[in-house]
Amino acid sequence: METKLGLSEERIQKARELAARIVEPVMAFVAEHTSVTVERATLRLAGADGADADGVPVPNLVVDQCKGLLENGALIYYVNALVRTGETVQGLNRLIAGGLNVASLPLGDRAALEAKARTLVEAFAARVKANRGHRDAKLEAYKGRNHSPLLYVIVATGNIYEDRKQAVAAAEQGADVIAVIRTTAQSLLDYVPYGPTTEGFGGTYATQENFRIMREALDEVVDRQGRYILLTNYCSGLCMPEIAAMGALERLDMMLNDSMYGILFRDINMYRTFVDQKFSRMINAYAGIIINTGEDNYLTTSDAVEKAYTVLASQFLNERFAYAAGLPARLMGLGHAFEMDPTLKNGFLLELAQAQMAREIFPEAPLKYMPPTKFMTGDIFKGLAMNSMFNFVSKLTGQGIHLLGMLTEAIHTPFMMDRFLALDNAKHVMNTMEGLADEIEFKRDGVIATRARKVLEETVEFLESIDRIGLMPAIAQGHFADIKRPADLGKGLDGLQKKGPDYFNPFEAYLKNELNLAD
């Protein structure tokens, strides 16, 4: 990558070292812990699915049954039940939904259980490998047909069947990525609902069946259009790893997944979050799923000019956390956003600096660029112009994943025509200025280059201070997003579990091995 900004390699290196030092103690903590949702995710990978008459999902039933035994992991009890009952996975799921308590069955021979578990791991591996194979084959077959950056739109009607209609229309209009936005507050549910759903607010429940319905619909468009359509959901909240598991099984291609988003913006306990995050990312990595980190969220409340360094700092941390979970750079959709006040003189230059800086510091990552939202108003005409500028900067700086701004951002979740207008605008702007990036150079002492250097410098300083304090205390003291999250507060702490000496999780072991992660 040719550098237009002349950033100091030494400072970039310094920031990476700091990030590594900051993340290390967190990973040490993570290594010793599991959580209810990590266990449920493991069960899901093994095939646990379905729900009882009250809608409680089978993985939750099993983990609830294992209360007090969780230091061993829940899987062993599920596998044991499989062996004991001689049922298939589906059969056992039905029994559990019908009332069977797997924890009440006496544990059988360890070797037999391990052997049985291996077959489950193999089945999982085969399914996910097939998914990857399918995706890779389609991407290869339809190479060069996606836009660059990938055009990403959301659907959010609350009803999976309406979503499907909208998604298919968007894909036909040129979208490369469809994200099904989750219903308000699903992130705070400590279970994943079961089956197709038609009732959500500002979004649609993430369920495995919803994933399947959408994947199937998009796959039809893929071949019709000769373009692979990526499907995205939200791998965050109290069920982060379970969603990763569902995504791996149903061939999602991207997942919103941030190392600290849940802590800061959803008040989820930090220990819980870090533990869940690692396991999620391992699954994502294995399934070839691109994560999209959530740096844009820093800017929805803070000022994008002043707090630009928090975005870069978070990118470095997300990168480090991702490496630690086995994700290669090409699966790191590190986030940032075009969120400066549109009335700011020169604002475009600062946005350009930020986007170009991210591009040069993370050359291999398919950066995820988020559109203006905070300064969008009911003025749909100005909104469209803001989105045009955003599209321009994205193309000019070679972003990887481009979430399209909606001219009705301040009004409603997108209408079908809003999405069309966004796609049309992006295609228009990006096509007409195609090639501009190769044409221009920035002056070394200009506003843009100077700004980028300044943000990098502030980032190093910020990371240095975090390094001094330690990440968890720094979060507790409000160093991120001005939000204080004490380590022992926040949702989901009671779902955290120290691993016991007999902790059993061959899926985790398999993933670590496949991802070349040390134990």
């Binding site: 309406e162 009911g378 003025d379 749909i380 997108p414």
Partner: protein, 245 residues
């Protein structure tokens, strides 16, 4: 089948509107905008944006939902041409077969209208959007008189060259000036007892077949028309006339 506008759910009736009111911006203006939009038959009206345009004018962006729908099955479009549109070759063949001579077509941008791009698109050799113009048709002899041709001059010319068809283009529509111009042509033809002598067609961005026929033309051609459409119409019309006479 009754259809309604679609926002993100079938029959939600969602529509976006923008307009200016001749009152100052402010809560009262916004409330006026809201009530106005409701009076158009919208519910759930949101005035999502307002801005002053000057002391006495303000602009609004509104969204609302309407229960108003229309019966899609009753919609009929009467285009000048039916399903069948001749290619250039088919058109020429039809002329050879039915007339054994070239048909003469005179076209112009009439009145004070100087927007010749449209009539050129239809008549000139080169055509438009990869559709050849009438000039290239072997079966047609064409005269494009260009811009700002008075209606009576156009008629005189059509008589002089013994035209079969007259084509007029009207692009400027402010204050319905195109209606005046088009009406005047028909009245002049009628006054000179020539209306039946020619196939008379109108065209232009804002001209539909319906409007043109109402004004006394044989047909009208709007946005997206090409030479083959009007060629097809003229030929079929002249065949029909020959057969009935």
């Amino acid at each position: 089948m009754i259809i309604r506008p679609y926002g993100d759910t079938l029959d939600d009736g969602s529509v976006q509107l923008s307009f200016t009111l001749p009152v100052p911006d402010g809560p009262k203006g916004r409330e006026a905008a809201r009530q106005f939009t409701e009076k158009l038959g919208f519910s759930h009206v949101d005035i999502v944006h307002s801005t002053p345009l000057s002391d006495g004018f303000s602009m609004y962006v509104a969204y609302g939902k309407t229960a108003t729908g229309i019966d899609y099955d009753t919609i009929h479009v009467e285009d000048a041409t039916g399903e069948k549109v001749y290619t250039m070759e088919e058109a020429d063949a039809a002329v050879r077969e039915h007339f054994g001579r070239k048909l003469v077509v005179v076209g112009a941008c009439t009145g004070f209208d100087a927007h010749t791009v449209g009539i050129d698109a239809i008549m000139n050799m080169k055509g438009y959007n990869h559709h050849f113009g009438l000039e290239r048709y072997a079966g047609l002899e064409t005269y494009n008189l260009g811009a700002q041709v008075p209606n009576d001059k156009l008629i005189d010319y059509a008589l002089k060259v013994n035209a079969d068809a007259i084509l007029v283009s009207q692009i400027v529509t402010q204050k319905d000036v195109h209606i005046q111009n088009l009406t005047e042509l028909i009245e002049l033809l009628q006054a000179r007892n020539l209306r039946e002598r020619f196939v008379v067609c109108a065209g232009g961005t804002r001209i539909g077949n319906k409007l043109a026929v109402e004004l006394g033309f044989d047909a009208g051609f709007g946005k997206g028309s090409y030479a083959e459409h009007v060629a097809t119409f003229i030929i079929d019309k002249l065949i029909e006339r020959k057969q009935t006479h």
